[in-house]
C-alpha cells in the first residue's frame, strides 16, 4: 500500500518536473549547473538576479509564439 502511494507520488513529482521543464521553471538550476561546470571565477547570479536578467533579456530578444 505504502509502496503504491510512493509510486504515485513519484510519478506525480516526475510529471511536475517535466511540466516545469517545458515552461522553463528549472532555468536557474541549469544555469548554476553550467556555471559550476564552466569553472567561472566569479560568484553566480543569485536567483532573483538571474530571473530579472532572463526576462529583461527577452525584452530585447523576443521569441515568437505560433498560431
Amino acid at each position: 500500500m505504502g509502496a503504491g502511494i510512493a509510486l504515485v507520488a513519484n510519478g506525480f513529482r516526475g510529471f511536475a518536473r517535466y511540466l516545469g521543464g517545458i515552461v522553463g521553471a528549472d532555468a536557474y538550476a541549469k544555469y548554476l549547473e553550467h556555471h559550476k561546470a564552466a569553472g567561472h571565477g566569479e560568484a553566480p547570479l543569485t536567483e532573483r538576479e538571474f530571473w530579472r536578467d532572463r526576462t529583461d533579456r527577452q525584452d530585447s530578444n523576443p521569441q515568437g509564439r505560433c498560431c
Binding site: G21, R52, D59, P62
Partner: protein, 765 residues
C-alpha cells in the same frame, strides 16, 4: 524487409571525420550498430508494424470508403495516429538518412555555445514539449473547422497526408539547418543562402505575413467575444491575473514558476466561473456587453501597451498559463474523444465540396481547402520558431527528427481532434454559427429558415434548437458566431458534457474553450507584435542606425505603433466588413502562412542542393512545389477570378459599378457607406495578395537559381560555399528518440560511469 533503400550510407560516415576525445566514451552510437538496429526486423517488430498498418488501413477504409449514416470519431484517431507512426518511423528516417545526415559526434550549439541562458542542453522529451507548446496555438483549432464546410474527408486527408509529406518535413529541415548554423533565424538563413534580393524579399514577406496572421487571429478573438458578457469578463480577467503573476515572480518569490502557475490556473478557473455569475447580473450584462468594434479597439490598445510593457510583467506570466492550458486542453480533448467516441453525422464530401460559393468559405476545394487548413498540415509560421529558439536548446543532432518532425505530427493531431469536435455538432447548427450575419440575418428564426433553405441532406434545424444551444452554453445568441472558435467551443462542450457534468456544465466547458483559445491568441498577438517590431527596427536601422538600438524607447514605441496600426487596420477592416470578415480574410491568412512555408522550403531547397544532395532533392521540392502551386493558384484566383465571391478585384468592380450606377444597396451591403467599405476592403485585400505573391515568387525564383548554381558548381567540380558553423567535437551523449534503443542504453550507461569532472574538463571558457 528493411524499410529503406541501401545506398548513400558510406557518405554519412565519411562526411563528419571529426576527432572526438579518445579519453571519453564515444559521443555517438557506432554507425554500423545504428544501422543494424534499424534494419533488424524481429518477428515481434514485424507484427507490431503490420498491426499498425492494418489498423490504419481499416480506419482509412471506414472514413473514406464506407458510407453509413454516421462515422465514429475513433476512426479519425486511428487513421491519424497510425499514419503518423508510419510516417515518423519510415519517411522521417529517409529524410534523416539522405538529407539531414545528423552526426552525433558534432556538438550542437547548446554544447559549444553553452552559456547557461540561451544556449542550454535540454532533455529531448522536455524540449519536445517546449517546442510543441511554441508551435501549437489557435491555428489548428480554427482552420479545420472552417474547412469542415466541405465535409470531413478533404480536410482529414490534407491534414494527415500534408503533415507527413510537407509540414513536418519543413519543421524538421528548418530546425536542423538552423541548428547547424548556431541557431540562426530563417531571415538570416534566407539572406545567406539566397543573396540580397531573395533575402530582402523574404524579410519583407515575413513582416507582412506576420501582420496578416496577427490581425486574423485577433479577429477570431473579437468574433468569439462580441456581445458575450461572460467571455469578455473571463478573458479580460486574464490580464490582471497575469500582472499579479508577473509581480509575484519578479518581487515576491522569484523563480517559483510552478507555484505561481498553479495559483494562476486556480484564478483562471475562478474567472471562468465568475464570468457566468457576472453575466447573469444586470450590471454585468450591461458593462461587459460590448460590440465587436469596441472589442477590436480594446484589443488594439491592449496590443500596443502589452508590446511595450516589460516582458516580465505580462508576456512571460501569461505564457506560463498559456502553456499549461495548451497541454491540459489537448490531453482533455484526446481523452474526451477516446472515451465518448462521438458519432459524426457530417458527410465525407458535403454539397459544398464541388462548389465555390460556400457560405463559410468561398472558393473551390482546390486550392482553397489547402490554404484554409494551414496550421496542422503545413504552417510556414513554424519556420520562425524552428529556427532560432529550439535549435539553441537541442542536446544532440539526431534528436531533431523527434523534436522537429515529431512535434509537428503532434500539432497535426490537435488539428484532427479540433475537426472531430467541430463536426460532432449538428450540421444545421454548424452552418447557422459559421455563416456571416449578412446571410443568416442574425436572429434564430431567420438563421433557421436560411439554413433549411440550403437544401442540405439531413439538415432540418429549428429556431428552438438554436436558442436552446445558446442558453446551454450561457450565451445570448450563437447565430453567425464566425471564426471557428465558438464552433469548437460548442463542439467541445457537447463532447465534454457527456464525459463530465452533463448539460449543466456545458456553459462552463464552452467558456473554458473560449478562454484557452483567447489565451493562445493573445500570447501570439503579443509575441507577434514584438517580433515584428524588432524586424521593423532592424530594417529601418539599416538606414537610420539609431533604430537598431533595442533599448531606444522612441524607436521601439514608434515601430510598435506602426506594427499595431498595420494589424489593427486589417482587424477593423475584418470586423466592419459587410461581407462577413472571416470568410473574406481567412483565405488571406492561409495564403500568407503557406507562402511563408514556401519561402522556408525554398531556403531548405537551396541548402540541400549546396550540400550536394541532388538525388533526394524531391523530398524538399515536392512540398515546395505543392505549396507554391496552391498559394499561387489561390492568389491568382483571389486577384483575377471573375466570380465576385472569390476574386477581390471582381468584387471591387461589382461594388464600384453599383456605386457609380447610384444604387443605395448592393448584395449584402445595405447602405452606401457599407458599399464604399467593400470597395475599400477588397482593394486592400487584393493588393495585399498581389504583394505577397510577387515577393514569394521572387524568393522561390532565387532559391531555384541557387539550386541550379549549386548543381552546376558541383558538376564543374567547383567548391560550394557552406554556411554551417565549423564542426566541434561533442563531449556528451544522449539518446535520439522517445525510447532509447539497446545500443543507446549501453552507451548512456558507459557515460553515466564517467566521473563528472572527467566529462566536463576542457569545457571551461
Amino acid at each position: 524487409m528493411a524499410g529503406l533503400p541501401d545506398q548513400g550510407k558510406s557518405q554519412t560516415t565519411a562526411e563528419g571525420g571529426i576527432a572526438t576525445d579518445p579519453d571519453l566514451p564515444p559521443p555517438a552510437v557506432d554507425e554500423a550498430r545504428l544501422d543494424a538496429e534499424d534494419r533488424k526486423w524481429t518477428p515481434g517488430r514485424i507484427a507490431l508494424w503490420a498491426a499498425i498498418a492494418l489498423l490504419g488501413g481499416v480506419a482509412w477504409f471506414m472514413l473514406a470508403i464506407v458510407r453509413g449514416e454516421t462515422v465514429n470519431a475513433i476512426w479519425f484517431v486511428f487513421a491519424s495516429v497510425c499514419t503518423y507512426l508510419i510516417g515518423y518511423r519510415f519517411y522521417s528516417k529517409v529524410i534523416e538518412r539522405y538529407i539531414t545526415k545528423p552526426d552525433d559526434r558534432r556538438a550542437t550549439p547548446a554544447e559549444y555555445k553553452a552559456d547557461g541562458k540561451d544556449y542550454v542542453r535540454t532533455d529531448r522529451n522536455v524540449l519536445f514539449g517546449h517546442h510543441f507548446a511554441a508551435i501549437a496555438g489557435a491555428g489548428p483549432l480554427v482552420g479545420p473547422i472552417i474547412a469542415a464546410q466541405m465535409g470531413y474527408l478533404p480536410g482529414t486527408i490534407w491534414i494527415i497526408v500534408g503533415v507527413v509529406l510537407a509540414g513536418a518535413v519543413q519543421d524538421y529541415l528548418v530546425m536542423f539547418f538552423s541548428m547547424r548554423r548556431g541557431g540562426r533565424s530563417l531571415g538570416q538563413m534566407a539572406r545567406e543562402e539566397l543573396g540580397v534580393i531573395g533575402g530582402t524579399a523574404a524579410l519583407i514577406a515575413t513582416l507582412l505575413i506576420m501582420v496578416i496572421i496577427v490581425a486574423i487571429l485577433a479577429l477570431v478573438v473579437v468574433n468569439a467575444l462580441g456581445e458575450s458578457p461572460w467571455g469578455v469578463f473571463s478573458v479580460g480577467m486574464t490580464i490582471p491575473i497575469a500582472l499579479f503573476m508577473g509581480v509575484y515572480l519578479r518581487f515576491l518569490r522569484p523563480g517559483k514558476v510552478m507555484e505561481v502557475s498553479i495559483i494562476g490556473f486556480v484564478l483562471l478557473m475562478a474567472a471562468i466561473i465568475g464570468g457566468g455569475l457576472v453575466a447573469q447580473t444586470e450590471w454585468g450584462a450591461t458593462v461587459f456587453h460590448l460590440d465587436k468594434v469596441t472589442i477590436a479597439w480594446g484589443l488594439l490598445i491592449y496590443g500596443f501597451i502589452a508590446a511595450i510593457l516589460p516582458v516580465w510583467l505580462l508576456l512571460a506570466p501569461r505564457d506560463y498559463l498559456s502553456t499549461f492550458m495548451k497541454i491540459g486542453v489537448i490531453v482533455m480533448l484526446a481523452l474526451a474523444i477516446i472515451v465518448v467516441r462521438p458519432e459524426v453525422a457530417v458527410p465525407a464530401f458535403s454539397e459544398f465540396a464541388g462548389r465555390e460559393n460556400g457560405p463559410v468559405l468561398s472558393g473551390a476545394l482546390f486550392p482553397f481547402l489547402f490554404v484554409t487548413i494551414a496550421c496542422g498540415a503545413l504552417s510556414g509560421f513554424h519556420a520562425l520558431i524552428s529556427s532560432g529558439t529550439t535549435p539553441k536548446l537541442v542536446e544532440k543532432e539526431r534528436q531533431t527528427r523527434y523534436i522537429g518532425y515529431g512535434g509537428m505530427l503532434m500539432e497535426s493531431f490537435v488539428a484532427i481532434m479540433a475537426l472531430v469536435a467541430a463536426i460532432s455538432i449538428d450540421r444545421g447548427l454548424y452552418f447557422a454559427m459559421n455563416a456571416p450575419a449578412a446571410l443568416t440575418g442574425g436572429t434564430v428564426e431567420t438563421a433557421a429558415t436560411w439554413v433549411n433553405s440550403l437544401g442540405l441532406s439531413g439538415v432540418n434545424i429549428t429556431p428552438g434548437l438554436l436558442s436552446e444551444t445558446a442558453a446551454n452554453v450561457g450565451e445570448q445568441s450563437i447565430v453567425s458566431r464566425t471564426g471557428g472558435a465558438p464552433t469548437l467551443a460548442v463542439g467541445l462542450a457537447h463532447i465534454m458534457q457527456q464525459f463530465i457534468g452533463g448539460t449543466a456544465m456545458m456553459a462552463f466547458w464552452y467558456h473554458f474553450a473560449i478562454m484557452f483559445e483567447a489565451l493562445f491568441i493573445l500570447t501570439a498577438v503579443d509575441a507577434g507584435t514584438r517580433v515584428a517590431r524588432f524586424m521593423l527596427q532592424d530594417s529601418i536601422g539599416n538606414f537610420v542606425p539609431k533604430f537598431k538600438e533595442a533599448s531606444w524607447r522612441p524607436g521601439a514605441w514608434l515601430c510598435t505603433a506602426i506594427m499595431v496600426a498595420a494589424w489593427g487596420a486589417v482587424l477593423l477592416m475584418g470586423v466592419t466588413d459587410p461581407l462577413g470578415g472571416i470568410n473574406t480574410l481567412f483565405p488571406l491568412f492561409g495564403i500568407a502562412n503557406q507562402l511563408l512555408a514556401a519561402i522556408a522550403l525554398a531556403v531548405c531547397l537551396a541548402i540541400v542542393a549546396k550540400r550536394g544532395t541532388f538525388k533526394y532533392l524531391w523530398i524538399v521540392a515536392l512540398p515546395l512545389a505543392f505549396a507554391a502551386v496552391v498559394t499561387i493558384t489561390a492568389s491568382y484566383q483571389k486577384i483575377f477570378s471573375p466570380v465576385p465571391a472569390v476574386g477581390y478585384f471582381a468584387n471591387n468592380a461589382a461594388f464600384s459599378k453599383a456605386l457609380a450606377d447610384g444604387k443605395k444597396e448592393f448584395g449584402t451591403a445595405k447602405t452606401v457607406a457599407a458599399m464604399e467599405a467593400v470597395v475599400r476592403n477588397t482593394a486592400i485585400q487584393g493588393w495585399l495578395s498581389v504583394i505577397f505573391v510577387v515577393l514569394s515568387i521572387i524568393v522561390i525564383a532565387t532559391a531555384v537559381l541557387a539550386t541550379v548554381k549549386a548543381f552546376r558548381d558541383r558538376a564543374a567540380g567547383r567548391a560550394t560555399t557552406d554556411n554551417e558553423d565549423p564542426a566541434v567535437p561533442s563531449r556528451v551523449f544522449a539518446p535520439a528518440g522517445l525510447v532509447p534503443t539497446a545500443a543507446e542504453r549501453e552507451l548512456a550507461a558507459e557515460w553515466a560511469q564517467l566521473p563528472a569532472e572527467a566529462r566536463l574538463e576542457r569545457m571551461g571558457h
